[in-house]
Each structure stands twice: as structure tokens, then as C-alpha cells.
Symmetry: C2
Subunit: 311 residues, 2 copies
């Protein structure tokens, strides 16, 4: 079994490649829920949905979020009724949020809902939210504390970040199956996701970082930073604002207590020795996943680093 | 001020005519909420919405429910996630239900939401749900108790009706403004709606029937039964099943304790004397509202019966 820690789009692309070279039923994905947000009274899990939609073959990959061939009538109606609509929600996507919200109010857990939805949409992997408790990534800025989606989508990630806080993290426990998916894995992959606000919240849930450090299986991470820039999203700006070096090396350094191997891009090949200096096996390859062949090749590199055979 | 007691489609058509001949701001509509239903975790008020959408000029009048030019993607997504979808909800309609559900959970009342929505959609009348408490019309059949929408939409009104019950009616109070709208009206109209399950629940809310019987203003009803048949919906079958005569006269008889005047169709002109025998002024006219001129003419007949001047 391969266990993958995942944020949104970057992780989803990597997983598309992975499920082509290992049986999807052998893959467990532990997904960040720090980005979750309640809007219009609906509970929205952007990273869980991005991973699910992408693996179901329904995602709009060109746009980078949401479903292909969406319509937007429901949101237009909400706008007419006075709602803020800075967070785009298509009509079919809205169906999922209505479903999740109803199930949660009926007492289901986030992980039960994630499993049901994955099954209904034909996703063969196991998708586990990191926790069934509410953890909320808050971005501290000069204008005060912002919810993550408010920071990212509403304000375009334009506010200098002073600090990142995971509200609720003290009371969050790993969702059922998360710890065992780490302890029983043959290999673990940290997907190429933002280390601060995608992987960071997962690692901050009590017990998960310790499980990674203590598990028998090797752990490999794929760098989301290439040539000093983030492939997507605000990772680079955030790292800089928090006084971190914006580099692949820095990502490896953030994970050094549990990392066995690190995959960085050829563009950062001059950092290989520096990563190895952390006692981490370092591999350079092409990490830009434009289409399925690159996604599969990157997944293959990760499995090779883990010493796991692939199809 | 004119106050109208209303169910769904028949009442909405009558109101379209009425607001053309009196200033909409002079019209208060008290709407049945016994048909309300919770589906997909969303609170749906079919009669309030039909009246609101119709007066906003947004209703699909040819189809007889919902909005014009709707799309159906959200419901399709819910179906894929395993939801029953016998109650059609379009994407824009869904926006309203999401809005109402959020507002109710935030502590707003049904009547506050109805007023906000009417205002947002540009409706000039005051729209008042009969009560802010939950009243649920239940249809007793051989197969057990059915919710009204389940009886009507899911099962096509095919079950013989043994009894009608308004669950929660003992604890329901008229919504703010309902009693004063009756007491202070210049005239009151009972719209051509089902007397048992559209007007019936309104009359069953504690104090409303008494207010109608005791008010100074004249009360006129328009018959929804023409030539022994309901213009729309299951009124005729229901009346028959409950041992009532299926006739315009029977409708007048159900309202006799508060009715001053009754408008029936030319087709039922032979019942004029019988209605007058109840001590009720009876008027025959054309009550079939195909287009705006007939709607306006019927509203004008009602105002004339009330002794109220129109534009």
C-alpha cells in the first residue's frame, strides 16, 4: 500500500500518474482540510474535492479548479439574493456541497462523506481527510486574521503573510485510518503541494508527524518549488514572507525529521548535495507534470525512491 | 389595503391580475406553508416561491412550477451522489433554497426570509408566510401518512385520501403581520386555491379563521372548482375522497362562517341561488385565467364584490 499526503491540484496531478502504475485500491490519500470553508451555509472541502474530481476524471484541469463543463446559475441566484460570490461554485459542484452539508448535519463525519463521494464518482483510491475535526488555516496579515480562502481567492494572495495558524489543531485527531495508513504503508509520498498550508496542516494534526517519523516505510517528498518558484499558488511568497529560503532545499529541510528521499527538479540539480547533507537521499528528475506521461514518470520516480515496484 | 390568502399557482395567477389594477404596495399576500418540505437538507417553501417567482415575472408559467429557462445540473449531481430526485429543483431555484436554509439556520424567520427574497427579486407586494412555525400537511392513505409533496409529486396524487392532518398546527401562531393584515384590510380575497390543502392550513392556524370571521372588511373567495373539476391539482379527488361534494357550492360552504361574497364560474351559474342561500353574495363570471386580461378581469370582479375601487 502506498500512502500519499496531499493538498489540491499538484497532489491530484501526481495521483493521476500514480494510479496508472499501481492499482488504485492500493493507494490511500490523506488530504488537507485546513482550506475548508463554509459559504452560503454549505461546507466546502476544496482539496478533498480537487483530489476526488481529478481522480474521477471530472476536473477542469485547464482552469485548475472545479468541474469540466460547469454551469453557474445557482451562484448567480445567490448573488441576486445578496450573497458574496468571490468563491466560484458551479452548479454540479454545488450538488456535492449540498450533499456533504446534509450528511454532516445528519451526523456523518468528513471521512465518511469523502468515502461515499469517492465511491459514487468511481474513484478507486481511498481518500481520507486528515481529520474529522475542524481545522482552519488562518493567515495573519496587517489587515488582521484571514480565512485561507479569503486570503487566497477573495484577496488574491496579495497580503504579506505575517504568520500562519491552524485554528482548532489542538483538538484535532487524525481521522480513522490515517495513522494506520502511515504505519502500514509500504511507502509514503509527500505530494508536490505547498509545504506550509497544504502539507503543513496535515503534519500539525496530533500524531501524524510522529507517525511519519516513526514508521517503518520509507518517506519520499516531491518538491513543489522549482527554480525558486512555486509551480502553482502562493507557496513561494509565503515562504519568503516567513523568512524561509524559497528553494527545493528548504522544503526538504522542513520535512527532515521524517524524510528518507527527496525528488527535486533538474532545474534544482545543484541542490542535490545540499539535500544529501541533511541525510536525505536526493533525486533530480523532470517534475513539471504537463500531461499524463510526465505524471506517470514522476510517480515512477517516487516509487523507485521508495523501493516499491510498479506496473 | 387588500389582503389575499394564497396557495400556489392559482393564487399567483390571480395576484398577477390584481397588481395590475391596484398598487402592489397595497397588497398583502398570506401564503400557505403546509406544503413546505425539507429535501437534500434544504428548506423549500413551494407556495411562497411560486407566488414570489410569479410576481417577479420569473416563473415558468407554461410548465406551472419553477423558474423560466432553468438548468438542472445541481440536481443531476445530487442524483449521482445517491439522492432521490423526484422533486425537481432547478439550479437557480436551488440558490433560493440554499439562501433560505442558511438564513433559517442563522436564526431568521420564514417571514423575514420571504420579505428579503421578495425585495431582492423586485416584488412590490408584501408576502407573508401564514406562520413562522413549522406546519406540515400530512395525507393519510392506506399506505400510511405521506408528506404532502410525497403524496402529490412523488406518488402523483394517486393514493385515495383518508384524512388530512396539519402536523404542528397546535403550536403555530400567525406570522407577524398576518392578523393585522386581516384586521386592517379594506377587503380580503381567498384566492382560487385548493380549499383543503392550500387555504385549509392557513385557516387552521390559531386565530386566523377567527380574525376573518370577526374582521370589518368584506371577504370574497374565488372558486377553484369549475364545473365539478379542479382547474389544477388534486382538489376534486381530495374533496370526493373526504365525502365532500365536488362543487363550487361546497367551497363556499367550507368558508361560510367568514365569507361575504363568492365568485364562481359561468359554468356553475346554476349554483348561484344555492350559494346565496348560505347568506353569501354570489357572482358568476369567467374564472379561467389563461392570460393577463382574464387575470385582471377576475381581480376586478373580486374588488367589485368587495366594494373596493381599482385603477
Amino acid at each position: 500500500m502506498i500512502t500519499v499526503l496531499a493538498g489540491g491540484v499538484g497532489a491530484a496531478k501526481f495521483l493521476q500518474g500514480l494510479v496508472k502504475i499501481v492499482d488504485p485500491s492500493e493507494v490511500t490519500v490523506i488530504v488537507n482540510t485546513g482550506d475548508d470553508v463554509e459559504l452560503h451555509g454549505l461546507y466546502i472541502s476544496p482539496d478533498v474535492d480537487t483530489v476526488t474530481y481529478t481522480l474521477a476524471g471530472l476536473a477542469d484541469e485547464a482552469r485548475g479548479w472545479g468541474l469540466r463543463d460547469e454551469t453557474w446559475e445557482c451562484l448567480a441566484a445567490l448573488k441576486r439574493l445578496g450573497h458574496e460570490t468571490w468563491f466560484n461554485l458551479g452548479d454540479r459542484d454545488m450538488g456535492l456541497h449540498i450533499h456533504r452539508t446534509q450528511r454532516l448535519r445528519d451526523g456523518a463525519t468528513l471521512s465518511e462523506v469523502a468515502a461515499e463521494v469517492a465511491s459514487a464518482l468511481g474513484v478507486g483510491c481511498r481518500i481520507l481527510p486528515m481529520s474529522d475535526q475542524r481545522v482552519e488555516t488562518r493567515i495573519k496579515t496587517r489587515d488582521g486574521d484571514l480565512g485561507f480562502q479569503e486570503y487566497l481567492v477573495k484577496r488574491g494572495a496579495g497580503d504579506p503573510v505575517q504568520a500562519i495558524d491552524f485554528a482548532g489543531i489542538e483538538d484535532a485527531r487524525p481521522a480513522d485510518g490515517v495513522t494506520s495508513a502511515i504505519e502500514e504503508a509500504q511507502g509514503i509520498v509527500i505530494a508536490p503541494s505547498n509545504p506550509l498550508i497544504s502539507i503543513g496542516p496535515i503534519l500539525a494534526v496530533k500524531g501524524i508527524r510522529e507517525a511519519l517519523a516513526g514508521c517503518k516505510a520509507p518517506v519520499v517528498a516531491v518538491s513543489p518549488i522549482v527554480g525558486g518558484k512555486a509551480i502553482k499558488g502562493p507557496a513561494a511568497d509565503m515562504m519568503q514572507a516567513l523568512g524561509l529560503e524559497v528553494s527545493a532545499y528548504q522544503v526538504a529541510e522542513l520535512y527532515r525529521d521524517f524524510l528518507d528521499a527527496f525528488i527535486l527538479d533538474y532545474a534544482d540539480a545543484d541542490s542535490l548535495e545540499r539535500v544529501r547533507g541533511l541525510g536525505i537521499k536526493a533525486i533530480a528528475t523532470d517534475t513539471i507534470m504537463k500531461a499524463l506521461p510526465q505524471k506517470m514518470a514522476l510517480a515512477r520516480s517516487a516509487l523507485r525512491a521508495l523501493g516499491v515496484e510498479s506496473k
